[in-house]
Amino acid sequence: MSAKNTLPENKINQAKTRLLLALFVAEEPVMRGKLNEKVVPSKEKRKDYQSVFDELLEIGAIEKSDKGYYLVPSVGLKLLDESLKNRDFENNTIGTWVANGLLKRIRENESKTNDFNQLDNQTQIEESSNEAIASYELFKDITLEVYEELNRNYNLDNLVPIYRIRKEIGEKVSREKFNQWMLEMQKKDVFQLIGGEMTDITPQKAEDSITTKLSGLRYYAKRIA
């Protein structure tokens, strides 16, 4: 009826997406036979869909072993997510496994940040950003850099508001760690954290400063070493 490799591109793309999704759902290697059931539509030829496997193998989205095909998460998942957004992935009839696979992917995406899915789940962001500044030493270096930069650029005369440092460092470190390490820097006589007259204080700025047990709110950092 039709010659080899004459399948329209959208059909190939749909097949690729189904393959990636199937491997994602399976979470373990799957034999070619099982996969064909999901990749090749009924009444169509397996041979016509050979290129789907070849191409994904070639770009490293999937791998092949003795036990069958499996997904390479770093490339495969990214490709899956991109393909799901592609309008090509539309079908009149959707199998239960597809729907379940999609749900699984959505849930996973929701609990994990990734490049194109900006989620504002605070705790998760902190968890993953902790990896950005993982040690006191690193924090100290970065903070001093930020301090010097703010001090220089805004002519702050060695009195840099803590909330501005926090803002610059942003989500690379959790609020809790930020407070803890700033106090550590004070303890080691790198900074003095100062309260005193805060002419421009607002509740938000106060919240973004540091509050200590005995001496209350500290608003500025001053470099002393």
């Binding site: 005369d157 106090l183 003095q192 100062i194 309260g195 005193g196 007259e197 200590t212 005995l214 001053k222």
Partner: protein
């Protein structure tokens, strides 16, 4: 007695329950600077006090003549404490005179305020067990008599002046003034030298210091002391006094309490006004160190915004010196020092020095590097015996009302020459009257208090404020003037406003507020021309009594320092005035406020007229003693 076992732990615990060793409020004020020192660990922030002592040494060694140092630190870190350390060490070791300036009254007129502070500071006891004025006077005497080669101590001179009669003393003072000025061309104003010499005489020092502080003298006293009625321009007088000091001694001038919300009429803050003044002072003193302390933010946001020339003069030694927070070692040392005093006084020996605190828990406090004040506050709240297993009814530590504590701290401060600061006194009265708006006191229902006293709504230098309200259904407007001047001219100007003959102020009656001390007696002329007519027209003479104005000044001070030092809100302070009116003579319970509002008595006081008989008597005496007699008088035997 040596074994600590001798004391049972119960004794010690009972003592701790009965008296909190940390009960003293952790605020250092001028009283601690001048009088009993706050417990001091000298190693804490030694770098900052050492910088000052080093500067004194270098000036003494003629490396340079003058310098200025700025110390910045957050509230409660020990700025005033450091000044107190400097003062006490100077007092113990001698060599330098010490001036402490923290209040200036009217910020539009800081030079006058400083002149008063200078006179007050020099009236404090220095290194030689006499006042610093007397130390300076002794230096002048010794310089004048240098040919006689015998050094006279200030103490000997005070004793000698004390036993001489007025006639002799007067001739002596004039004689010494003359030769001193002849020998020292730099002594431009003999009257200032004369007034300083008068401070050696106990019975005249009050008047002499009044004059030196810019307060002026009555005509009668002025002629007795051979001085003009008024010392003239405030800054000229200040300059000359500091110059004289510069010839004999090093000088340390400390400016403190700059972090307040006060500002002058042109919008400059207290710190900025003082900085401008420090610049002028720096340019005009011969020799000395000027120390200015403030919070880092005040330095950056207020001082650094002034012209560079001002900044450079306020901190000639470069960048401000920072004070350090407490670390584990210094916290342990501090607590040990306080407790040592406590246990020693009670003759107790605890099992270890920091009892009831453990060293571990004290060191834990240093995690956040607290300022010293916060450590002491923590100690006070937590200084109690460890809770035992038994169901002991440990009295919960009574938490002092923070406003009450602040108020008591301020109340403990000595007034000194502030009792002559019309502006400061009037400001306190105004503040306290404002709290009475809406109340009816002494039949006066108070509607408004304003310092915009003229018909056009302007301020006046003599008439401080008006109380507007109704009295028995009729409108009433009481003009209040605090007039502590001794001198006639200023007093006369004030009286004229109170009588308000030309109806410039729209007063229904004028109220004079004035002390009745010896140096505030008024001449017959003023009495007849102003006081009598004022009283007969329904005005009042309300006697200013120190104990009655003190609570008003104290609560005003708390209000001024509410943000930085005490961390209080206006509402808390206002509520305290209402709640504690009876306990502390505040608000409606203050006799001075009540007296100002009360019905005029139409009684002219008769105890305020100057007795000028002495003057008359003395002027009839011939001046016969010759100079040899006078100088012989000073050749006292050891």
């Amino acid at each position: 007695m040596t074994s600590s076992n001798f004391y049972s732990i119960e004794d010690i615990n009972e003592a701790l329950k009965a008296h909190n060793p940390f009960a003293q409020p952790p605020y250092v004020g001028s009283s601690e600077v001048w009088d009993k020192e706050f417990p001091d660990i000298t190693s804490l922030n030694a770098h900052a006090s050492d910088a000052v002592f080093q500067a004194i040494e270098q000036i003494r060694a003629n490396q340079y003549q003058r310098t200025s140092i700025t110390i910045t630190a957050e509230a409660g870190t020990g700025k005033t404490h450091l000044i107190s350390r400097i003062r006490h060490r100077l007092q113990a070791e001698g060599g330098a005179l010490f001036i402490y300036a923290n209040q200036f009254g009217d910020l539009n007129n800081i030079k006058q305020g400083f002149q008063r502070t200078l006179a007050d500071s020099l009236n404090k006891i220095g290194n030689e067990e006499v006042t610093q004025w007397q130390e300076l006077a002794a230096a002048i005497v010794n310089n004048a008599l240098k040919s006689n080669a015998k050094h006279l101590s200030a103490k000997q001179l005070v004793k000698q002046f004390g036993i001489s009669n007025l006639k002799i003393t007067k001739r002596l003072v004039n004689y010494l003034t003359d030769i001193f000025c002849k020998n020292n061309s730099s002594a431009k104003n003999p009257d200032i030298v004369r007034a300083i010499l008068w401070t050696l005489s106990d019975s005249h020092s009050l008047y002499a210091i009044n004059w030196l502080s810019g307060n002026g003298l009555s005509q009668h006293k002025a002629s007795e002391l051979c001085l003009p009625v008024h010392s003239g321009s405030a800054f000229n007088t200040v300059k000359q006094i500091l110059n004289l000091i510069g010839y004999y001694k090093e000088l340390v001038i400390c400016f403190d309490e700059l972090d307040s919300t006060e500002s002058n009429d042109t919008g400059f803050t207290k710190a900025q006004v003082v900085a401008g003044f420090v610049k002028e002072l720096f340019e005009n003193i011969r020799k000395g160190v000027i120390l200015t302390v403030m919070m880092p933010a005040v330095w950056v946001e207020q001082i650094k915004k002034l012209p560079a020339a001002v900044v450079a003069k306020v901190s000639a030694q470069g960048n401000p010196i920072d004070l350090k927070y407490m670390d584990g070692d210094s916290i342990v040392e501090l607590v040990t020092l306080w407790l040592k005093q406590f246990y020693q006084d009670l003759n107790l020996v605890p099992s270890y020095e920091t009892y009831p605190f453990t060293e571990v828990e004290l060191r834990e406090l240093s995690e956040e590097k607290p300022p010293i004040r916060n450590v002491l506050q923590w100690c006070r709240e937590n200084c109690k015996p460890p809770v035992t297993g038994e169901a002991e009814d440990l009295n919960p530590v009574e938490k002092l009302d923070p406003v009450e504590e602040a108020f008591k701290t301020e109340l403990a401060q000595k007034l000194g020459r502030n009792l002559d600061d019309n502006f400061l006194l009037a400001d306190a009265l105004l503040f306290n009257f404002q709290r009475l708006i809406g109340y009816t006191v002494e039949q006066v229902n108070i509607k408004k208090i304003t310092d915009k006293v003229t018909k056009k709504g302007g301020k006046d230098n003599y008439l401080n404020f008006k109380i507007i309200g109704t009295e028995n259904g009729k409108d009433v407007c009481i003009g209040v003037a605090v007039l502590q001047h001794s001198g006639g001219r200023a007093l006369g100007a004030g009286f004229k406003r109170l009588i308000d003959e030309e109806n410039k102020f729209n007063l229904s009656r004028g109220c004079l507020v004035r002390s009745k001390s010896k140096d505030k007696e008024i001449s017959n002329y003023l009495y007849n021309t102003y006081l009598e007519p004022l009283i007969l027209e329904g005005g009042e003479f309300v006697e200013l009594k120190e104990e009655e104005i003190k609570p008003l000044l104290a609560i005003r001070s708390v209000h001024k320092k509410r943000n930085v030092d005490y961390g209080l809100t206006e509402e808390q302070i206002f509520q305290f005035i209402v709640d504690k009116a009876i306990d502390y003579q505040l608000g409606v319970s203050n006799p001075l406020l009540k007296e100002i509002l009360s019905d005029p008595s139409y009684q002219v006081p008769d105890d305020v007229i100057e007795d000028d008989s002495v003057l008359a008597e003395e002027s009839t005496n011939s001046e016969s003693a010759d100079f040899d007699d006078i100088t012989n008088l000073l050749m006292v035997d050891e």
